[in-house]
Each structure stands twice: as C-alpha cells, then as structure tokens.
Symmetry: none
C-alpha cells in the first residue's frame, strides 16, 4: 500500500478483529497508525496481531477513535459499552444495517453525540482475520450516517478513517442506507442462495455442465448463514419490498414461458432480458477485471510440480505475480494459470516465458 | 495454441461464423485443419476469415464434417439443408437446446443417421466473430447426443472435434441435456436478468454502493435478448419446472422475512442460506469448494518465488495439487495459498509441509 501519511491522529481502537476489523487494522498499520485490537475470541485476536493488524490493549490506552466491527446482533451493545468506557473517543461501527442499532441505542436513551454509524461497502464471501487484506476498502464507498447533532470534528474523524483506507466517504441517512443495501447487497445475496439451493439435489451430470456464468451468479451464496440471518432480519422491511418486486417480475416471465407461442409471450421474455441489460449497464466500474493489472494465461500440463515450476521461473525472471487464478479442468490434459501482473511487465513476462518453452494461451 | 496434431481428417465446414463458429474455426486452423466458413452475413463471414478462422467455400468442397452454429430458430432448417447438400458428411450442431431441433427434423421425416446433435458448454456474454477465441472450449464439457442408430464412425468424428478443441466429450440424451442446461444455464440467465431489472429505476446513490457481489451475480444479465428469447422459448418446459421450484423457495424465505421474529422464521432464513452453501459446494472447479477435495491453507511470505518454492516442494513430496487459490494481500506480510488435495493425502501433506518449515494457517 502506498497511501499518503495518515490523516488520523491518536490511537485507533478496533473491537472485533474479523475480516473488516483486521483489514482496517492492516491498512492503518501500513500508515503507521497506533492500532489497538480487541476481540472476544483470543484465537482470532492472536491471529490478527500475528498478521500485523495491530497490538493488544494496554493500561492507559486512550483511543481517539473506536471502530466497532462485531456481528450485527451485538453491535448496539458494544457501541454503548465503548461510548461509556472511552468518554472522549468518537465511536463508529461498520455494521451492514444502520437503522436498527441506531434506534436500539436511541430507545435506551444512550447519548449518541459521539456515535456516528458507518458502513464500508467491502467484504468477501469468506470471513475472519485470515481473509483480511489492507486493500479491501480501496476505491469502495464508505457510507457515513451523521445527524444534525454530530459534531463536525467527530464527522471529520470518520471521514479521515475512510480516506486513510482509500475509500470514498458518502453521507446518507440510516433509512436511505438500509434501502440501498437491501437492493444492491441483501436481495442479491438471497437470490443467489435460492438459486444455488436448486443445485442441491441436481444430478451430477447436470452440475458437471456448470460454466462460469452460473459460478459467478451464485458465488456469494457461499456466505456464512449465521451472519446473513442477522443482516437480513435486521433489514427485513426494505428487503421484502425488493423481493416482492423481483417475484412479480419473475412470475410474469415464468407465465410467458408456460405458453411461449402465445401472443406477446416472447415480447415479455425479450423485455425482461433487455431490462436486465439496462440494469447491468447502470453498474459502476469494472466488470470482474481488476484494471490495475493485466493478465497472462499460461498453459500448464496437468502433472505435479508443473505449476510450481512456472511460478519459480516467474520469480527467476523477476516478475512479481499480483494475483493468480488456476483453471483446473478435470478431463483436460492441460490447465490454465491466469497470472495478473503490472501492465509494464506484461510483454516482457510473455516473451521470457515463451523463451523458456511455456505456452501462452491468450492475454 | 499448441495442442497435439488434429485427430480430424478431411475438411470441416462451419455454417455460422459467430462466436462459437469462429472460435471452432480458429482452434481447428491452429491444428492445420482445412476449415470452410459460411455465414448468411457477408460482413460476419469476412471478419471471421480475416480473423484466421477459415476460408470461404469453393467449388468441389467435400467436407467430412459440417458444424451448424447458427441461431436456434434456424438450426433445424440448416441441419436439413446441409444433410441434403453433403450426402457423405456427418452433420452436427452446437445449439444450446437439443430436443426441439431433433424432434422438428424427426417430424419432417428427415433421415438423421448422419446427424449428431452436440453442445459445447462454452460462451461469453459478448457474441460475434469479433469475440472468438481459440481457447474457448479448453477444458469445457461438450455434450454429444447420439442415439442407437448413430454410426460409430460418425460419433467418433464429433468426439474428435471436441477433443481437438481441448473439450471433454460427454454423452447425454437430448432430454437429459435440456433439463441439465435449463438448471445450470437458462434459469440462472433469467434470474440474473430479473435481478438486474430491479436496478433500472433505483436511485443513483443506491447503485453507487454496488460491490463485486452484485456485479458477479448479474454479470450474465448483459447477454443478448434476441438469442436468449430463442433459447428460453425452445426449452420452456424444463425452465418453467426449475423456475417454479425457485419461486416457491423464494416465497418461503420472503414470508419468513415478513415476520423475522416469528417462531421458526430465522431458521427458515438460515436454512436457505445454508442450502445455498451446499449448492455452491457442488460446483466443479474453482470458486466454491469442490467437495471431492480437502483444502490446506499455507502461509507464504509475500516475496517473489516463495509460492513457486511451495508448489515445487509439493511436487517433491509427491502430492498432486487439484486446485489452487492465492490470497494476495497487499499490506500484509504474508499471503495465503489454498491448495486442494485428495482427502487421503491431506494429513501427510500437512505433516510433510510442516516438517519442511511451512506454516499451515488452517485446513
């Protein structure tokens, strides 16, 4: 990471050293911020510290900012506890739902002047400190839910956090946030899960025909049930609204398919696919590809040690591999290793690999 | 591409020089097969020839194999015409639906002895010769629909085609094929389209929060409406069966979300997400775990050559790596290599790697 020096002053305390907490810690440590980690699980805490995501707490720690990154069902309790324990700190959280914890704390009469809810739109289908990465927030939106009573210095601190991590701060009300993520995150999660569920009892021969299309469509369906039950239940009303609209559209096109030669049926089907085109066209940014890197696809014989040989030789020619995807195709005699490299070394890497006898499938 | 010399003898004629036709042509030309291209569109034909996917037809051409790769609604007509025009050729097609063209030809009384339907499970969301690539079929399944009357030499010819292109031939009945692709291809297409449709009228601020999860889930929704109306309408009955099951499951979990604190509601939600996990786990190959394999996660220093060293040592200790995912975390001092191995070698691989000084993060 080569982000400018931190805007944050003072120590940052992170409660919950899972994927988000440990990733925030890694990124802040790279900026030389003093990061104090806490976690209910000693094993998770130790792993995050070993990763370099921060240090354990010590007597006299006085964080200027506390980041609560714990599961949704305990978020409100931990926010309340941290506000009480560190009376001069600003407290934020990174939970995926913003209205429910806010209302819970309000109903309890907690003074929320120093609390600002936030939500970095970043994540992975696998959780835990073990999946943490310092670049998790790079270029991602980071929603900040201020209200009229939020002191400007407190707001500035959370904005600095987002900027420090390379994210883009966006202000929203909790309600606006929850409706938005219901549409772009929670409903897609559930749709992917229900689609993947249809595969559970499918014949092996059918599953064997799966291509990249289905694989991408259901990728997020491998997310953890415990976490998602909490998220979906906390944001049930906005999610149900979108699901009802989805179900009505799906019923319409299914009915068209019950009589595909009836008048108007094909038009309904075509309109649905075309509307899907329009929806995809609205999505910001890259489509899968990481545009910082170029890829090289190398054919690798499906024998032990061949991939190791390739990667060793990449090291020999001084090419740093930024990412690697292996296409292992049972039945095929060759596999494909897709290697991401910086654009400026791509051509040289191809030339050197070909000179050493490697076959480049495509770039 | 440097695949072994072609198994095919004689010329191959490809009718329809779109994505699939031109990709087949490119791959066969790389193997020095004489490829004759035809297309109803002179512009598309010229583009495919310019690409190096084959030559235009000439008087006296006598292809031993004809590959029909035209839109679904004209597939049956072209198959019939080609069978009549080249009385000694084997004719195959690559359409996504197999029962309808077969029944159409049967009902017309066409002699189908020399016809073998086939379907390479390969494609891209972009069509046309301009998107063609010789490695499109590499490692992909290629379904071949023979029947009792298919002469063995004819079957061998289509199998040779699949093998020539690096694909894995799989025999299926047309009905079995259509039900399978309904589940793993056609329904996911429609579900992705209906999901993407929900974005059409969403506020900009919501769409801006989109992450890789939604982007992957709706990626295939950018496919062409004209083509997909034909595919879906030709395979309507199997698609409707899966859509009905999908809609019932979705309605169940939506109802649970209408009252997330009612008895059993959270269990229904959790079961849905967990079933989605199981569905994803059945998918072959990368992403989603393949349950035939166990995984070993090894910590790798983030320096060039370390991963190569690991994989070389795996070869040294005789462990075959079935799949590999690399977690490259800029900012962290270590990366994670997730290696899939057969269950029976997992423990020995862990022991041997640890004895050689590698740190195992988890299994």
């Amino acid at each position: 990471m080569s982000i400018p020096p931190s805007r944050l002053t003072g120590s940052v305390r992170i409660v919950g050293a899972g994927l988000l907490g440990a990733s925030i810690g890694l990124a802040l440590r790279a900026n030389d911020v003093d990061v104090i980690l806490a976690d209910a699980s000693p094993a998770q805490l130790k792993l995050a510290v070993d990763y370099g995501a921060g240090r354990t707490e010590a007597d006299g720690d006085r964080p200027s900012l506390v980041i609560v990154s714990v599961p949704p069902d305990v978020t409100a309790n931990i926010i309340e506890a941290e506000l009480g324990r560190f009376p001069s700190a600003v407290v934020t959280d990174v939970a995926s739902v913003k209205l429910e914890p806010y209302l819970t704390l309000l109903n309890r009469g907690v003074d929320l002047t120093r609390y600002i809810g936030s939500h970095p739109l970043a994540g992975r289908e696998r959780g835990g400190a073990i999946s943490a990465r310092a670049d998790l927030f790079l270029g991602r939106p980071w929603v900040i839910c201020r209200d009229e009573e939020t002191p400007p210095e407190a707001l500035a601190l959370v904005e600095d956090l987002a900027l420090d991590l390379g994210a883009s701060p966006i202000e929203m009300t909790p309600d606006e946030h929850d409706r938005s993520v219901g549409l772009v995150s929670h409903v897609p999660q559930l749709v992917a899960s229900v689609l993947a569920k249809q595969l559970v009892h499918a014949p092996d021969s059918a599953v064997r025909l799966t291509g990249q299309g289905l694989r991408d469509t259901v990728r997020i369906a491998s997310s953890a049930p415990e976490l998602w039950v909490q998220i979906l239940a906390s944001n049930a009303a906005p999610v149900v609204d979108v699901l009802d609209a989805f179900a009505a559209d799906l019923a319409r096109v299914t009915d068209a398919l019950r009589g595909p030669d009836a008048p108007g049926a094909r038009r309904t089907i075509a309109n649905t696919i075309a509307a899907g085109n329009s929806g995809v066209a609205r999505l910001p940014g890259k489509h899968g590809q990481d545009r910082r890197y170029e890829s090289i696809v190398v054919m690798v014989d499906d024998t032990p040690g061949q991939l190791g040989k390739l990667l060793t030789e990449l090291g020999d020619i001084g090419v740093n591999m930024e990412d690697l995807r292996l296409e292992h195709s049972p039945g095929a005699q060759i596999g494909l290793a897709e290697i991401a490299v910086l654009p400026e070394v791509q051509q040289r890497a191809i030339d050197d690999l070909e000179a050493r006898g490697w076959r480049i499938a495509s770039t």
